[in-house]
Subunit: 350 residues, 2 copies
Amino acid sequence: MNRHAPTLEDVAREAGVSRATVSRVVNGVRNVDPAIQDQVRVAIERTGYAPNRAARSLVTRRTGTVALVVSGAGDGTGDTSEEEQNAFAARVFADPFFGRVVGGVVGFLRPRSTHPVLMFAESPEARQEVLRYLRQGNADGALVVSTHPDDPLPALLAEAGLPAVLFARPVRPVALSHVDLAHWDGGRLAAERLLARGCRKVATVSGPWAVAASQERLAGFRDTMARGGHPYVPVAEGGFTLDSGVAAMAELLAEHPDVEGVFAANDLMAQGVCQVLRERGRRVPDDVAVVGFDDSSVAATCRPPLTSVRQPVEDMAAAMARLLDEHVRGLRTEPASVLFEPELVVRESA
Amino acid sequence: MNRHAPTLEDVAREAGVSRATVSRVVNGVRNVDPAIQDQVRVAIERTGYAPNRAARSLVTRRTGTVALVVSGAGDGTGDTSEEEQNAFAARVFADPFFGRVVGGVVGFLRPRSTHPVLMFAESPEARQEVLRYLRQGNADGALVVSTHPDDPLPALLAEAGLPAVLFARPVRPVALSHVDLAHWDGGRLAAERLLARGCRKVATVSGPWAVAASQERLAGFRDTMARGGHPYVPVAEGGFTLDSGVAAMAELLAEHPDVEGVFAANDLMAQGVCQVLRERGRRVPDDVAVVGFDDSSVAATCRPPLTSVRQPVEDMAAAMARLLDEHVRGLRTEPASVLFEPELVVRESA
DNA sequence: TTGAAAGCGCTAACAT
DNA sequence: ATGTTAGCGCTTTCAA
């Protein structure tokens, strides 16, 4: 028994036609006699033929694969051990946000029979590896989710002329398409909710200063609070992690023990906020109302469940994949930016 | 300016040698004059050459890619909408276990310049897609993590003669390599800890009956408790989720309000156990000691931090990747099974 | 509408 | 030690 996978040639022989005709049928090109199409299809069935990806890719110069890159800003000063990389992967997956990104990307790609290659780019070597990978034609382009504002990868990608789409607008402009959220509006929604509940003393745990989204959420929140008659809003900076939320809330509570409402710039930090509040004997939402951001899975599992500003991450991720697809297929040549609107999801915490 | 990527031919011309020589240098084959090696390397540098993956793959019949498949047991009776798929992805990523698997896999793969393609196989169509993908030569093999004991994918893979390695021994034997944990010993470790703390009334929240690992953990726990003089241990079945842990503990507490120690078959459920306990006014560990399983990230973030039976998931995942690599390279022809030992990690909950 | 034939860029015999 | 050459399986002009 020959363990060789059947080729176009085999199918052609079986169907009594030429390779070219089989190719046309396989690729759904018109101009093929319906009767012959059937013959070919039967032959394909009988031989168990599956087109060879490498051969096809060699001539079409397309791979039907995209890289999904989770990118940091490691500068290579630390060691790039396997340990460190594991830690990076663990951190990434610990954030429920990323699972939603994957869900959205896969949702778009799968109907097109393509699947994402997962790459981490947290060090200079890892970034070079991403570039090498794309240049070798392992994938047609990259979907990049940066975990850090100083991430150099987008610029490298743009420079190399490799198709890529970013999640969130990069701090320094880069000639790449991206999707983003109207963060200012998200901050506004949080403020409106707290205002509507009658909270007078409010505080906020922001994301890292360096992240543009943090600033916009904060601005939207503050501007709206000011317009509502509360010009001063104490802020503590967090790092989008549970621990940083805990620390920030402890700090806030020390200086403003009379706080009645808190807006945390993501759900993970909001969870930390709730923990601290409970430990200090404050009830949520009776004593202190808490609004989170993202509407991630922790929003639902948190005690109490979090009222949160929903970021339609799945839709945004799917949009990234669509943009990349358009770029790769040459349907789109100029970088585009797609903006999504947030939405308030009311649960128990506020 | 020609936007064509440089080929071997270009490098050869630049270096004044033949394509074959350049190929040898690129692939690190000996028998090449050191001086010429340098010439070639310079030429590669100057041209910015990167080997074309498709062309290489076409002749070597290897892709340097592996599929990382997260597999369920969907039977296609429900709708396989994008929504459902998103939900599956979200559920998978909500479990910190999976992040560790990815970390371990990437840790092994990356030094070899290969990267995993992420696939979900929760429906019959998705499973066929995995088979198709592998048969087309998109990847050399699959690393399969099943979320359900009745997962039909392993058998399909084995039948098709596609290289694959499983996480955990499948319920019905399949001719594929796998890695696994000595679950019985894990249950024993949990029991020993509770026994050592002097807990007399203990209960356990098990994993789903259908999962072999659940039964083994339970058996190890019960046998050891019995040997320690506690032949009867109440059990409530959980589903490895936070909610199921909450429900199971509520049930247990209703029937056994005097419980002093609880072993939950994973950390997520242990977290649910702690939540219920706290809500019912029981302090952990003072009133009730709780031991989790996995030592996942929630073990550390849980309040209180969980004492847990550590499963070396990263190492196990890396071992999967290694096994697959050996199978693909033909270094290993018979299915193998690699067993790992658990370890107790003591924190505050017990 | 169909077939013949020329490559895509690379590796691996084989020849030198 | 190096070069020559024959494909790998597919798509795609170009003819018929």
